[in-house]
Structures are given as C-alpha cells and as structure tokens.
C-alpha cells in the first residue's frame, strides 16, 4: 500500500524557506540529564495543574507532581527522580508566568511503581484508554497543547468516524515529527489504533506533506494490515497544511464550521508525537516525561533532534547541540511561523515545545509601523479567508466591533499574512490583541 494524494487544499497558504535540511537527517539523540529541571504547571491549554509537592520533597520519575485542576487540564509528572528545590512562578514560553517545580535530579532516574504496562491493549474498554491517557498527562504536542484525554472522549452524541494523524510539520526548520515518523513508524501506528479504538473511529489517515518522502514511505510501510481504512495521505507542501481545520479539509474535504471544533464534522486530529506518547502510556505504562525537540537555526553549532526531559532549559539543549557558533539575536520556542520569541535561554522544555530555534541577526525580520498599501497579498494567503488588511486597520483604530463583524475571532494566527506583508506590518500581533479584547468585551456583556 502506498500513499494517496490529497484531493483538496485549503485556501491561501505561503511557501516559506524551509531550512529543514539543517536537522532533518540527524537521528533522534537522547540527552543526558541536566543539572536541574524546571517543570511548569502550565504546559497545556486550560487550567494550570495544582502542584502536589513542596520544597524538599523527593520524587521518582513518573510521580505526579501536579494534579489536573478540572476537566480541561492535565497532570504533570516528575521527569526524573530527585529533590524538589523550589516551587515558584516562572515565565512560560508565551510570556505570562505560571507556577513551576524545580527538581534537582539524583542521577538514578528511578521510575515510580505507577501505571501497569498493557501490551494487550485491545482488551481495554474505551474509558480505560481515556483514563490511562489522562493519568499519563498527555496533551497535544504539536503546539496548542490541548489535553488529549478531553479530545478522545467526545460527547456521547457526537459520532467520530475519522482520526487524522498530523504529520504535516509544515513549520519551517522543525523536523522532530519527521524523525519520529521515520524512526518510530510502527509504534505511532499502534498508538493511532489505540486512539481510534477509544474514539470508535473507523478511518485513520496519516497526513504528511509531500516534501517528506522518507516519512511517507516509512509510515506507508508500517501501515497495519488489519485496518482496511488506514491511509497515508500526501499533502501539497504549503504552510499551514498542519493547521487543524486546513488539514481536515485537505484530507477529507470537510469544512469545520467557523467557531466550531473538528468533532463537529466527526473528526479528531492528533499530532504524531502525541500518538506516540499515547502508545508509550498505554502499552508501556509510562506517563509523559520527555519529548523530541528540534534544536536548530543558523547559530546552532550542531543542529539536531533531541529527546529531552520536560523541564530541560533551552541553554542546556543548545549546549548539548554543540553550543552556538555565531551571534544569536532571537530565541524562539517553536517554529518561525507560530513560535514564541524568548527573552533568554532559561525557558524550560514543555510538552508543547516542538522546537528551539535560534536566529542570527541576519535572519531577524523587523516589524515596522508602515501604513497598509492595500496590496491584498494577505487576503490572498489567509487560510481562513479573512481580510487581515482591513482587520489590522480596524484594530489599530481600536474598533473592536467592526473587527468582530469581520470575523477576527476566526483568525488562527498562522502568520501567513504578516509573512507576506510588504509593509512589514505586525498583523498577527494586531489579531492577537483584537481577539483578546473581543473576548474581554464578550465576557463583560
């Protein structure tokens, strides 16, 4: 069985320089334990976890150090064994501060006697799988970090027929998912079957951009025999094919209603890394304590794909990759299109850190406050069919009502508009601010 070509493609999209060659052929390398780990309680979308340890406690790897605070939240586990040094707020990658637990590893890396491995997962009930996923603290590892146990337990009246594994990795520079697909194809497929069972989904698609032939080949080869409805779909290479709504359209031709969720059209999308984490949790009984992150960018001496414990600082990861060989002007957690710029390299790896990108001064794009020249390029590339030119001007004038009428809330912040803008306007930032303000205004009413 080979890959099938995607029949559809969402509107808009851009073709940034990919720079994937920096790290694409570097096998995943496991990083030794650093001297200290800072584990944020807010590594997911939703309420931050509640810390369950205090200064001076000793913990084992896999031990719960933060409990899920409500339904849309996720548990946090100790990534290694050691001593709790501090429980205090630290800045998250996106900026605001959240409580974090600092652990000094004891070097033994001893696992706690927790969840039982379950190689025979086919015997499990739906709800057992969901419970295991929740207990393992798994969240979406592509970027947004939506708690996975919520995603795989849709309301009973919603029938899910299709599971899409997102292996598009359309962000330039990043190659972590690519490496996972090349190296761990069989395990990812098994994870997919586990999730499909929990969802009672009959179709499984793995969506991969067609600039990753090795990943497509590996996933196609490892495709399980029994599942007649499993496919590998080759997507046109175009940013943002990895965005959920756009990918669903490309793979199935279904449009997620504006303001709606994929489950409204009977679909759940999971990142390949998340799928692997589910496999690890269910089959091996291991909670999420590490992830693969691409450490890349011009100034990085030896770019690569690093298997690092959650909580590893950016500086430690860069050090592991040979340090820097030229000046660094911008530090980005994530990819260049949607990642968050960091003030320094002290920030810890979280469940959503798909990449750590360093840019030299020559690659930094400076935003300006030039007027819009109405070239319309942003309108042409917007994958949501919005009019970023108009929106940004409404928002500059703080006219939130009109911006709302022009559907600012449908913006997915993919960055296509600002990427194309010849006037170098900070369009995405305008949208973010607008969305925040509209939310605030709605809550007031």
């Amino acid at each position: 069985m080979g890959a099938i070509k995607a029949k559809f493609s969402a509107p808009g999209g851009v073709h940034p320089a990919y720079h994937k060659d920096l790290a694409a052929e570097q096998p995943i390398a496991e990083m030794p334990l650093p001297a200290s780990l800072v584990i944020s309680m807010s590594q997911h979308l939703g309420k931050p976890a509640t810390p369950t340890v205090k200064k001076g406690d000793t913990v084992l790897r896999g031990q719960v150090i933060g409990e899920a605070a409500g339904f849309i939240s996720a548990a946090v586990h100790a990534p290694t064994s050691g001593t709790v040094k501090l429980v205090a707020p630290v800045p998250t990658a996106a900026g605001p501060r959240a409580t974090a637990v600092t652990i000094e590893p004891d070097g033994e890396d001893k696992w706690i006697d927790g969840m039982a491995p379950c190689p025979d997962w086919r015997q499990l009930e739906k709800k057992d799988i969901v419970e295991k996923i929740a207990a393992a603290g798994i969240t979406g590892m592509g970027g947004a970090g939506f708690p996975t146990h919520v995603k795989v337990s849709p309301p009973p009246e919603t029938a899910i027929d299709t599971l899409i594994l997102n292996g598009a990795e359309c962000e330039p520079y990043l190659t972590a998912d690519y490496r996972l697909m090349v190296e761990r194809a069989a395990d990812i497929w098994e994870g997919a079957l586990i999730i499909a069972k929990a969802l009672e989904a009959t179709n499984i698609y793995v969506a991969i951009e067609d600039n990753k032939p090795l990943a497509i080949a590996a996933m196609a080869e490892a495709m399980p025999e029994q599942a007649g409805a499993a496919h590998v779909v080759a997507l046109k290479t175009e940013y943002p094919q990895g965005a959920e709504k756009q990918q669903i359209f490309a793979v199935t031709g279904r449009e997620v209603p504006a303001g709606g969720l994929p489950l409204n059209v009977g679909i759940v999308v999971e990142n390949v890394g998340t799928t692997l984490a589910v496999w690890d949790a269910v089959v091996n009984g291991r909670p999420l304590t590490e992830r693969v992150t691409t450490v890349t960018g011009g100034p990085v001496a030896k770019p690569g794909n690093v298997l690092a414990r959650l909580g590893t600082s950016s500086a430690d990861m860069v050090e592991f990759c040979g340090g820097t060989s030229s000046p660094v002007a911008k530090i980005i957690s994530g990819g260049p299109m949607m990642g968050f710029a960091q003030a320094d390299m002290s920030g810890p790896t979280t469940k959503t850190t798909s990449g750590l990108l360093l840019l030299g001064p020559e690659s930094v794009h400076a935003y300006e406050s030039m007027p819009c020249i109405s070239c319309g390029r942003c309108v042409g590339v917007c994958p949501m069919n919005l009019m970023p030119n108009e929106l940004s001007q409404f928002l500059e004038a703080e006219d939130y009502e009109t911006a709302e009428a022009y559907n600012v809330m449908d913006c997915i912040e993919c960055g296509c508009c600002a990427f194309e803008c010849p006037a170098h306007r900070p369009l995405v930032q305008h949208m973010r601010r607008g969305k925040a303000q509209v939310m605030l205004n709605r809550r007031k009413q």
Binding site: A258, A341, D344, L359, N407, E413
Partner: protein
C-alpha cells in the same frame, strides 16, 4: 548575553517582500515604455518625464517636511507617480503645467491624506484629470503624425486616432481609415499620436509581463479591463461597423494599455480581493467605453479608473471572501 535578544510576535519569518522592492519593480517595468517614448517623442518626452519625476520627488519631500513628518521618499513611490503622470501628458505640454500637475498629484492627492497607502485616488491620474479640465486646449494638442498607411490615404494629422474618430463620427462622416495589417502593427509598436507613454502597447505589455512574473500585479484587473473593452466595442462594431471602430483598435489605441497595466493595478486604490479586482476591471472597461463612445472626451481611461477608485472601498466591502468554515452562500454576519 551582553546584548538583549529581540522579541516580537510571531511569525518570525518573512517573505522578504517590501514596499520599496515593489515600487522598484514597477519602475523597472516602466523602462521599456520610457525608452519607446524617448524614441518617438525625443526631447519632449525627456523634458516632461524629468520635470514630473523631479517635481514629484521634491514635492513629496517638501510637503512631508512641512507637515513635520519623516521625509520618507525612499519608498520610490513618488518616482512612479512622476513617470506615470508624464506618460499621461501630450508631448507639446509646457513644462510648467507638468510641474503644476505633479504638485497637485503629490501634495493634494497623496500627502494631504497622509502619504502612501492612504490616498483614495491614483495621484497621477488625478493630476492628469486636473490638467485636462484646467487646460483642455493644451492637454489635447498633439504633435504632427503621419497616419500609417491608411487605405488610399497619406495624411498628416495633429489628432490622436481616438480624437480623429470622435470628430469624424461627430460630423456624421464615415470613418477616415481602417486599421488593418501593417497599420495594426504600427499601432502595436507605438507609432501613433497620443500621450508620451501610452502609445506603445508592446512596451507596456512587456512591462506588464515583468510585473506579473514579479507578482507585483495579478492578471485580474488588466485582463478584465481589456476584455471588457474588447467585448463592449466588439458588440458595437458588429452592429454598426461603419459607426464604430474594431475592438482591436480600441484595445491598442489611447491610454488603455497604460491604464490597464499600470494605473488600474495601483495597489493602494484598487480592490484587494480577486473577485473585487474583476469587478473593478469590468467597471473600468464599461466606463471607458461609455466615455469613448458617448462622452464629451475622446478618451475615458483616466476618468474610468478614477471613478472606479472611488467605488473601491465599496467593492472591497461587497466582495469580502466567505470565511473558511462559514455557511456557503451567505457571509457570516455577527
């Protein structure tokens, strides 16, 4: 780290495009037409183009300084306004009028609104129309021109082909000539009377192709515009071939090529959506033909584009794309 790192909102990558680069591309695209104008009109073309460009740049710099803003002429847009305005002037126009037109275009039509990006009308066209209305005699005084091989005629005229047709039909006479074969080629190359930059369809098309390749314009406006003129004039021609000119004549004469490729596609004053661009082009075509056929002026390109500039905000509003995921057939209104 000794120096602070830079933090901005995402995205951290950029296509590398810039306003300056776009303007530079437009200037490059105008080069063939400039050369052709120098070939056909010689000193007059040089005189007017230089006067307009220098005045536009100086007026932009001076007015911005006067308004207490940064000088900001390095986006090169004033140079384009200068060239395009000169292109829309007849070769015999006195220099001082070109200067007045340039100052009007830059100061009143552009800088008063805040400069690049804010002007609702194309400055060069507004400058030309102001001159046309203020100095109608000077603005329609053309150099001498031998009509290229009309059948059985060898005449010298001081009118543009369109002007000639208008006066002849106005006096109820038959059309004075019939452009076919080699005469067509002459028109295409640019051997005709007219404003200094509009005569050569070939040179303008060359520039248009460059702009398309550089993605500075899309095909929508020029194609919709020219096709509408062709269809409109074609219908008239089929019904009354004696009273109307053939579509290819309409397309190749007057300022249509210049207007469709360089003026109507001005980003600031044309719609941003693809559908809007088509509407814009079709509107320009219809208005151009209305004025050419029934209006008081022999040529309607400038007026047509200016009028469509005026409705551009409404077109943008009406052609808002359907938001991805919104119900089909209707726009989501909240």
């Amino acid at each position: 780290m000794s120096e602070l790192s830079i933090v901005s909102s995402s995205p951290h990558a950029h296509s590398g495009s810039s306003v300056r680069r776009i303007m530079l591309d437009v200037i490059i695209a105008l080069v063939p037409a400039v050369l052709v104008s120098l070939y056909f009109f010689g000193w007059d073309a040089f005189r007017l183009t230089t006067a307009c460009v220098v005045t536009c740049v100086a007026a932009e710099a001076a007015s911005r300084k006067w308004m207490g803003r940064n000088i900001g002429i390095d986006d090169l847009s004033a140079i384009i306004t200068g060239i395009l305005l000169a292109f829309n002037l007849p070769p015999t126009l006195p220099t001082w009028m070109a200067v007045v037109g340039s100052v009007f275009a830059i100061v009143i039509c552009k800088q008063l609104f805040g400069g690049i990006g804010y002007n609702p009308f194309n400055p060069a066209l507004a400058g030309r129309v102001m001159l046309l209305i203020s100095f109608p005699v000077f603005m329609t005084r053309w150099s001498e021109w031998t009509i290229p091989s009309p059948i059985g005629m060898d005449a010298v005229t001081t009118a543009t082909p369109l002007g000639l047709v208008k006066t002849t039909i106005g006096s109820a006479g038959a059309l004075p000539f019939d452009f076919t074969g080699s005469a067509m080629l002459q028109l295409f190359v640019g051997n005709q009377n007219g404003c200094i930059g509009e005569v050569s369809a070939a040179a303008l098309l060359l520039g248009g192709i460059y702009l398309l390749i550089r993605r500075c314009i899309t095909w929508h406006i020029p194609v919709a515009y020219i096709a509408t003129v062709a269809v409109f004039s074609g219908i008239l021609w089929i019904h009354h071939p004696q009273q109307n000119l053939a579509p290819h004549f309409h397309v190749l004469s007057g300022g249509l090529m210049l207007g469709a490729i360089f003026m109507a596609t001005d980003m600031v004053t044309s719609p941003v959506t693809k559908r809007g661009m088509l509407v814009f082009g079709i509107g320009c075509g219809i208005l151009t033909m209305l004025i050419r056929k029934w209006g008081g002026y022999p040529e309607g390109v400038s007026f047509a584009i200016l009028l469509m500039n005026a409705v551009t905000p409404l077109i943008n509003r009406a052609t808002r794309p359907r938001v991805f995921g919104a119900p089909k057939g209707g726009r989501k209104q909240s």
